[in-house]
């Protein structure tokens, strides 16, 4: 008996051995992934690692090998259905330049069954975006805010953000993330966000995925991540002993030596020196350097 009632299912994305090849380039290599409802997942990887390919596959914009289900259906085959419950913001400006903000909202209202016009208007009231203005005349920050207003006004299950703050200055980046967190926090929405500004989203993530050369290099909940990686600041005379514990990276900052360890007890590391939790960016660099 096959029973599948998606409202009861907590798994939003389920990928088994998915691969994608573009001519001679293997963009995804047997990716296995499960994303649960309500997660805020950070997808981190260097340029060309396969982040956008993975995100496009999840949206059903690319056909890939393997088994991929989003909200219980194959996204490529059921794209029309998927986009009722999935929305995305990509790294490039995708809003139609010819439209005025008002026209864009009206068109979206008529084309998306779960778009709430009042919510979008409320959202835009707190911005400086003039509704009569054409999208092409808006600043980059305003375009990002407008797009965010549109996607946040869709009552969807999954939001995919592919470098949403790329090109924005720090003020607009902060504003964008504040709005995102303010709207989505505790609303059981699932968010997958890919960004290079990892330190800016670190605090809101519930899960973390590192991707490199099309393969998943790390996939864990943030709660586990905090207990999984430690960085120890040590003197040179402790270095020899510490090396025996197989650090994943060694770096020197201002004359201090910092060793990063994975899967070690905090207590056992404290004998080498002060221990602290590294940032995601530090772990990312360490893990990428391991390859």
């Amino acid at each position: 008996m096959k029973v599948r009632i998606l409202s009861m299912v907590d798994v939003v994305v389920s990928a088994h051995d998915i691969s994608k090849k573009f001519k001679n380039h293997q963009a995804l290599r047997q990716v296995n992934l499960t994303i649960e409802k309500g997660s805020i997942v950070g997808l981190i990887g260097p340029n060309g690692a396969g982040k956008t390919t993975l995100l496009k596959s999840i949206q059903g914009l690319l056909k890939c090998e393997g088994e991929l289900e989003v909200l219980g259906v194959n996204p490529y085959q059921q794209r029309n259905l998927i986009f009722q419950d999935v929305c995305f913001i990509s790294d490039v400006g995708v809003l139609p330049q010819w439209a005025t903000c008002r026209q864009l909202l009206q068109l979206t209202r008529n084309l998306h069954p779960k778009f709430d016009m009042d919510k979008a208007m409320d959202f835009l009231e707190h911005t400086a975006i003039p509704l009569k203005e054409k999208v092409k005349n808006l600043s980059k920050g305003m375009k990002a805010q407008l797009h965010l207003a549109i996607v946040l006004s869709m009552d969807v299950e999954l939001m995919i953000l592919d470098e949403p703050t790329l090109g924005l200055d720090i003020i607009h980046r902060k504003k964008f993330l504040q709005q995102l967190v303010g709207e989505c926090f505790d609303k059981s929405k699932t968010i997958i966000v890919s960004t290079h500004q990892v330190e800016e989203i670190e605090e809101i993530l519930t899960h973390l995925i590192f991707i490199q050369e099309g393969g998943i290099k790390l996939n864990m909940p943030m709660a586990l991540f905090r207990d999984q990686f430690y960085e120890v600041e040590m003197s040179d005379n402790q270095l020899q002993n510490a090396q025996e514990c197989h650090p994943i990276s060694t770096r020197k900052i201002l004359g201090k030596t910092l060793l990063m360890f994975e899967g070690q007890d905090k207590e056992s590391l404290e004998r080498f020196g002060p221990v602290h939790s590294p940032s995601i960016a530090d772990v990312f660099i360490a893990k990428m350097g391991q390859q």
Binding site: M1, K2, V3, R4, I5, L6, S7, M8, Q59, L61, L62, K63, L71, G72, V73, Q78, R79, N80, L81, I82, F83, Q84, D85, C87, F88, S90, V92, G93, V94, L95, P96, Q97, W98, A99, Q103, L107, T108, N110, L111, H112, P113, E157
Partner: protein
């Protein structure tokens, strides 16, 4: 018991996603897609024909005020005294020719605008990235292709049709106005001979017929617009020219190129082009060619004949193939 659903709303008592999908891919969604196309191309679709129409009317007024009105196609208005001397059937033909001459520029602009729109319809959206935005909404590709095809085949020609009718009406009104003061009856000589309502009805019928007639070329261009990553017009023409060249060398015929040309041409423009050969006939010989000329005034019988022609439905069959191919290309999305 087998329970299988694709609805994430199932069990919540709300409308299923599938039902909503069908609703939004239905009338509201589809009319919104058409509205989107019009808004995006407002200048070419609405402003250009209206401004051109206004200019044409201004030219008619200037022509009426300044010229010593002559009965030839170089002037926008007519001479009621000479018109009254003509037999009814010739008069009808001249009035028809005049009404079409004054709006020819609109028909030519329509062809240019249509081709420009259809070749860039998907290509431009892919190039500026907005394709990704529209793809992120729950609209199926079949509806998108259908909307673009109907926009170029029906919505756009209808806009131009109404402007053409307004210009032709202005032409008749101004001709009547400038003919006042002569003893010839304006009603009888101009309005009852021109049969404007009948002509517009036939003209509208041809606009509807053109939806099918032009479909193979428009859908071929739409397919190329969704397929090529650069220069879609070149990509669309090269295969046609190559096949045409091969046909010419191997079979000593030019059917493909001729059909491509005629299927790019709205029927009324075709009739105007065919009509051209009679324009070189000296005026005094016109009565001798009366019968053949009068057959060139479009009428509903000609429409019926065209509707039942093999060329029309053969092209429609090809158009269906191009439509399916375009949807498949759009569904692949690999190029995006």
């Amino acid at each position: 018991m087998k329970i299988e659903s694709q609805s994430i709303l199932e069990g919540t008592g709300k409308v299923s996603a599938k039902e909503k999908a069908s609703h939004f891919s239905g009338l509201l969604g589809f009319s919104t897609l058409l509205q989107k196309e019009v808004l995006e191309n407002k200048t070419a679709f609405i402003i250009v024909p209206i401004v051109t129409g206004i200019l044409l009317v201004v030219m008619m007024v200037v022509s009426g005020l300044t010229a010593d009105v002559q009965f030839d196609s170089d002037t926008a208005l007519l001479d009621i005294r000479r018109l009254a001397t003509m037999p009814e059937d010739i008069r009808q033909w001249f009035l028809y020719s005049l009404m079409n001459d004054v709006t020819l520029v609109l028909r030519l602009i329509l062809v240019l605008v249509s081709f420009n729109y259809v070749i860039g319809a998907f290509f431009n959206e892919r190039r500026d990235g907005s394709d990704l935005f529209w793809r992120s909404l729950p609209i199926n590709q079949r509806s998108q292709v259908l909307a673009k095809w109907l926009t170029v085949s029906l919505v756009l020609p209808l806009f131009y049709f109404f402007v053409i009718v307004a210009c032709q009406l202005s032409c008749l009104l101004l001709s009547s106005l400038f003919s006042m003061g002569y003893e010839e009856s304006i009603i009888e000589t101009i309005w009852l001979s021109a049969h404007p309502i009948e002509l517009w009805f036939v003209s509208l019928s041809f606009v509807l017929l053109d939806v099918i007639w032009l479909s193979p070329v428009y859908l071929w261009l739409l397919m190329c617009s969704s397929f090529y990553n650069r220069a879609p017009l070149v990509g669309a023409l090269i295969p046609v020219l190559m096949l045409g060249f091969l046909e010419s060398v191997l079979l000593d015929s030019n059917n493909l190129l001729e059909e491509f040309f005629w299927h790019s041409c709205p029927r009324e423009l075709m009739i105007w082009i065919e009509n051209l050969k009679y324009r070189v006939i000296p005026e005094e010989l016109i009565p001798l060619n009366l019968k053949s000329q009068l057959s060139l005034v479009p009428n509903i019988n000609e429409w019926k004949e065209a509707f039942l022609s093999q060329r029309l439905w053969g092209g429609a069959g090809l158009a269906i193939v191009f439509f399916i191919a375009t949807v498949k290309i759009r569904n692949r999305c690999e190029e995006v």
